[in-house]
């Protein structure tokens, strides 16, 4: 029998293993198809500066202690150490190398300045000027890691309405102020989403002040229940592929399919409803019966019909057509009149 464990086979096995490992290493590295060099230059920082690490950066003064604690307690905070099992992330990951900023800054100088009532400032000009970067470059600071870090809610970021409209990550995610703001997490608290969205979408505040509305001001329904601010392939950044699917996350009893369908109007709930708010009951775009009379002929009537007859037929269509979203039970005629 031929020997399997030979020096030659061990050697080939080792080569194969090394090639696989090297291949896996390269898989971990995000590779842009075509780099955006201009933006990359903006976020690389001063080329004559060195990375000094968070400990060195903050050891001399305590001005940033609160910010530091906020970051330590944030989602990415654990990545200050390699013990987290994740790539290391620290102040310089976003702000750029800090050696020039702390040049000549010693604990003694800080103490001396403090005695004179002065705050010893870093040379901030040597950092990346994040606030004044173009929004795309601001986002690139985050995306340089998050595009390679399996961030599963960013699949459609680049073609989403926010990215197109020059909204950047830091417009919503306040990296350095999270702990005080309500939790050791960079994720926005659901109860705070409306206030955050209102900053740009002020017209929506007016819709939510109307008497028929979803309980968004009450903080029981969140903007993020229907919309995904990180981008989707759907209109209005809806989380679900269709309007119906978005609405029936909660209104599942109206989803169907039904044996008797209301044509395909129920595919687009917005044919009849105004999701943010309306002056009309049930978030209706227009009041009944005019809402229905836009498409359907009214019941029999004439100037000789009694007021009672008119009232029964022209008050609210849904008094009788109570299954207007679809039904599995035919009406008395055997057809789908949405009565039963």
């Amino acid at each position: 029998m031929k020997r399997i464990v030979t020096l030659r086979n061990i050697f080939f096995f080792l080569v194969l293993l090394i090639v696989i490992l090297a291949g896996c290493e390269t898989l971990k590295i995000s590779k842009p198809i075509m780099p955006v060099r201009e933006y990359e230059k903006l976020i690389v920082g001063r080329l004559d500066a060195q990375y000094v690490g968070t400990q060195n950066c903050l050891s001399a003064c305590h001005y940033h202690d609160t910010i530091r604690r906020n970051f330590e307690a944030s989602t990415m905070g654990v990545q200050l150490t390699r013990k987290s099992g994740m790539p290391v992330v620290n102040c310089e990951s976003c702000h750029g190398p800090g050696s020039l900023a702390i040049e000549g800054l010693t604990p003694e100088k800080v103490a001396e300045d403090a005695k004179e009532g002065k705050q010893t400032a870093c040379n901030y000009d040597t950092f990346i000027d994040i606030k004044n970067l173009p929004p795309q470059a601001q986002s690139l600071i985050c995306l340089k890691c998050h595009t390679a870090n399996a961030t599963f809610n960013l699949h459609n970021w680049n073609a989403g309405a926010h990215a197109i409209s020059d909204v950047s990550c830091i417009d919503c995610h306040n990296i350095c102020k999270t702990f005080k703001k309500g939790g050791p997490d960079l994720t926005v608290k659901p109860r705070d989403t409306a206030a955050m969205c209102y900053k740009c979408h002020q017209e929506v505040i007016a819709a939510f002040s109307l008497p028929s509305r979803h309980p968004v001001p009450e903080k029981r329904i969140f903007c993020t229940d229907c919309h995904d601010a990180h981008g989707t392939t759907n209109d209005k950044l809806l989380k679900k592929p269709t309007i119906k699917e978005a609405c029936t996350q909660c209104h599942a009893e109206k989803e169907g399919p039904f044996a008797f369908e209301h044509a395909d109007t129920t595919e687009d709930c917005k044919t009849c409803h105004s999701p943010h708010g309306s002056v009309n009951d049930k978030l209706l775009l227009l009041r009944e019966p005019f809402l229905c009379l836009q498409c359907h002929s009214g019941h029999r009537t004439s100037s000789t019909s009694t007021a009672e007859s008119k009232s029964a037929r022209f008050t609210r269509c849904t008094d009788c057509h109570s299954q207007i979203h679809g039904t599995d039970i035919p009406s008395a005629s055997g057809e789908g009149r949405f009565i039963q």
Binding site: V19, E25, K31, I33, T81, K83, M86, V88, Q136, K144, H146, T147, A150, F152, H155, N156, N158, A159, I164, S165, G183, P184, D185, Q202, A207, L210, P211, T233, T242, E253, E255, G256, P257, A259, E261, A263, T271, V279, L286, F290, Q294, C295, H299, T301, S302, S303, E308, K310, S311, A312, R313, F314, S322, D328, P330, A332, S333, E335, G336, Q340
Partner: protein, 658 residues
């Protein structure tokens, strides 16, 4: 040859070894292990009592549980590397609460659970019988003065595992929606047809559960990132799934030959479904980026066995040849395939055992299936710093099956062009303008236009430091050339919508913040409406150019004042005035009473809230919050009456932070 082969293999081996070790050494060099300081846990706890006084309709305080209750809540945040815990709890009462728990271990394991529950007061709409001496039309009100409401709870759970040292995630997310309570069920009794019209109102118990669970995995693999997920969804109905009532003989007209008996009505079917999704995208750090999504959804009605399948395929390509110029190309394909099982799936309702004459047959029209393709291209250009111009063109085509059975077009084509611009005119002055134009060929419903135009103008101005003003106006106009009522054409339709909003936000003093706003919303529609004459031969008649209008004015003022470090005061008032009506002109619709009077509406809603917090020297904080809600229906329309109501809610709390 053998030697060369060995040489190549050895070279690969050593090269790979060098790459790996140098990468590892590069990471090791200069690396100082970070030491976390001790971060003390942070906590906040409050308790209190909520007093409620309420008069009249529950419409005042629609989302308030209008009963006295104990209130409790607090936060806890603990960070002790490698563990993080955050708890946030707000209990307003037994039917209104919010809770959130987050736990992370090294960010490798992450859990987030959120529950929010609220009580929704529902209307008990009045069914008015103008002549109680006639049986038909008549009313059968079995729930007069009954108060309705539903408790809705949404529980979301998310569990994620990250693999250390390799970019991949595995996650499970679940969503549970529970509705329980009672609501008004309106329906048509009598014969269920024109021979005997009896509008009915009764109580319906609600107990429903909608559950969904998603299992997914995600990994970044060099050039692309891939995510695969599977979702299962169920709807279970535990109370009053269907109601049964006695119906009389349907008799004429033709087709309404159902004999009297007990029949089911207002069934809420149980559902079952699943969704499979694949997302792929390239690195977002590049000038050329592509992403694609493929999603397939199935739903099955567990009662009628009707099935629907949805397929969505979408892709985007973004090319940024230079930072100032970006092209976006988007494509989406949607398929909707609905299949009903016909009358055979509904034996109990289509061939009821008590239908002796057996002359009653279900007529189930095939459901509409459709395919839609949408292609759009966007160009973004930044000519100078502070100015962004965008232009978009999109084309959409929809093909429908079985639409002709409902008098709807079999295909529809939409073209849309939009132009928008964001401009920073000067320091503190920003202007946004947007214009959209749409052309639609063969629109499917009367509510869809042939042509639509929308313009938005928004200006944000900071005239002086700490004063921020905003003015926003949107006008949209729609024109439909020819309406269709079940295949019968009528004249045109015009729609106009106006949205105006203005606000001033000011830090009058360092400790005084004032915000004021005004919003105006107006909807106008003018179109032909059709109705059948009640005089033989029952011709279909037209009332030409019937106007409909509704509008709302909202005025809001808010003050936030911090007179001392340990005292804060806030007040907010919102007052909304709204009305709506339509105006038919045909005598048939105006005599002896206009059909418009049944739905005429004018109402006012005022919400006032005032709150204050005072921190005592002991570290405790006392809080008082008062909320007053008033609903006033100015037009006391007996046909569409929701009674006036007032609610006063006082919340007294004592809290402490650590």
């Amino acid at each position: 040859m053998k030697r060369t082969y060995r040489l190549i293999t050895a070279s690969i081996f050593f090269l790979s070894l060098i790459i790996l070790t140098s990468a590892a050494l590069a990471q090791e060099r200069d690396y100082i292990e970070y030491e976390f300081p001790v971060i003390e846990p942070m906590g906040y706890l409050y308790g209190g009592y909520r007093f409620v006084d309420h008069i009249g309709s529950e419409k005042a305080g629609e989302y308030e549980y209008l009963h006295n209750s104990i209130a409790l809540g607090g936060d806890l945040r603990v960070f002790s590397f490698p563990n993080k815990l955050s708890i946030d709890l707000r209990i307003r009462n037994q039917k209104d609460y919010f809770g959130e728990v987050k736990y992370a271990h090294k960010d490798v394991f992450y859990f987030r659970g959120i529950n929010r529950t609220l009580f929704h007061n529902l209307d008990n709409l009045r069914l008015l019988d103008l002549d109680t001496t006639t049986l038909s039309p008549g009313v059968d009100v079995r729930d007069a003065d009954r108060i309705y409401g539903i408790t809705s709870g949404i529980t979301s759970l998310f569990l994620r595992f990250k693999t250390p040292d390799f970019p991949s995630h595995f996650y499970i997310s679940g969503n549970l929606l529970e509705n329980s309570g009672t609501q008004q069920q309106r329906s048509l009794f009598g014969s269920g047809s024109f021979t005997s019209l009896v509008r009915a109102s009764q109580r319906r118990d609600i107990s429903r559960q909608a559950r969904s669970i998603v299992v997914g995995a995600n990994s970044h693999l060099g050039l692309v990132e891939i995510e695969v997920s599977h979702e299962e969804k169920r709807l279970d109905v535990n109370a009053d799934k269907v109601l049964y009532d006695t119906y009389s003989d349907a008799g004429s007209p033709a087709g309404s030959t159902r004999e009297g008996g007990i029949f089911p009505h207002n069934l809420t079917p149980e559902l079952k479904g699943s969704t499979n999704t694949i997302h792929v995208h390239t690195s977002y750090t590049g000038g050329l980026v592509a992403s694609a999504t493929l999603s397939s959804t199935e739903r099955e009605n567990q009662d009628s066995k009707a099935r629907s399948d949805y397929l969505t395929a979408a892709g985007n390509v973004i090319w940024m040849p230079m930072p100032r110029l970006t092209f976006f190309l988007r494509y989406k394909h949607k398929e909707r395939d609905v299949e009903d099982q016909g009358a055979a799936a509904l034996p109990e309702v289509c061939s009821p055992s008590n239908n002796i004459a057996n002359n009653y047959a279900c007529v189930i029209k095939p459901s509409i299936s459709s395919e839609t393709d949408t292609l759009s291209g966007i160009l973004r250009y930044q000519p100078v710093k502070g100015v962004t111009l965008r232009t978009e063109y999109s084309y959409e085509e929809t093909e429908r099956q079985h639409a002709d059975r409902r008098g709807l077009p079999e295909s529809t084509r939409k073209d849309a062009v939009s132009l928008s611009s964001d401009m920073k005119i000067m320091q503190g002055l920003n202007l946004k303008v947007k214009y959209i134009h749409k052309e639609i060929e063969d629109p499917v419903y009367n509510t869809d236009p042939n042509r639509a135009d929308e313009a938005t103008f928004q200006i944000a101005y900071l005239p002086v430091v700490k004063v921020n003003t905003l003015l926003s106006y949107t006008i949209s106009k729609e024109r439909r050339n020819e309406l269709s009522f079940n295949g019968v054409d009528a004249a045109d339709r015009d729609v106009r919508r106006d949205r105006l909003m203005g606000s001033i936000t000011s830090h009058v003093l360092n400790n005084l913040f004032i915000t004021t706003s005004y919003a105006y919303m107006n909807n106008k529609t003018k179109q032909d409406i059709r109705y059948a004459s009640s005089i033989s031969p029952y011709n279909i008649l037209t009332d030409t150019g019937v106007p409909y209008e509704d509008e709302a004015h909202n005025y809001a003022v808010g003050f936030h004042y911090v007179p001392a470090d340990n005292l804060s005061l806030a007040t907010d008032v919102s007052h909304t005035v709204m009305k709506g009506a339509f105006s038919p002109s045909e005598q048939d619709l105006l005599e002896p009473v206009s059909i418009a009077t049944f739905s005429e509406f004018k109402a006012k809603e005022t919400v006032f809230s005032a709150s204050g917090k005072y921190r005592f020297k002991s570290g405790f904080t006392g809080g008082l919050r008062y909320k007053h809600i008033e609903w006033d229906e100015v037009t006391e329309n007996p046909h569409d009456d929701i009674a006036d109501g007032k609610a006063h809610v006082v919340l007294l709390t004592i809290s402490k932070s650590w």
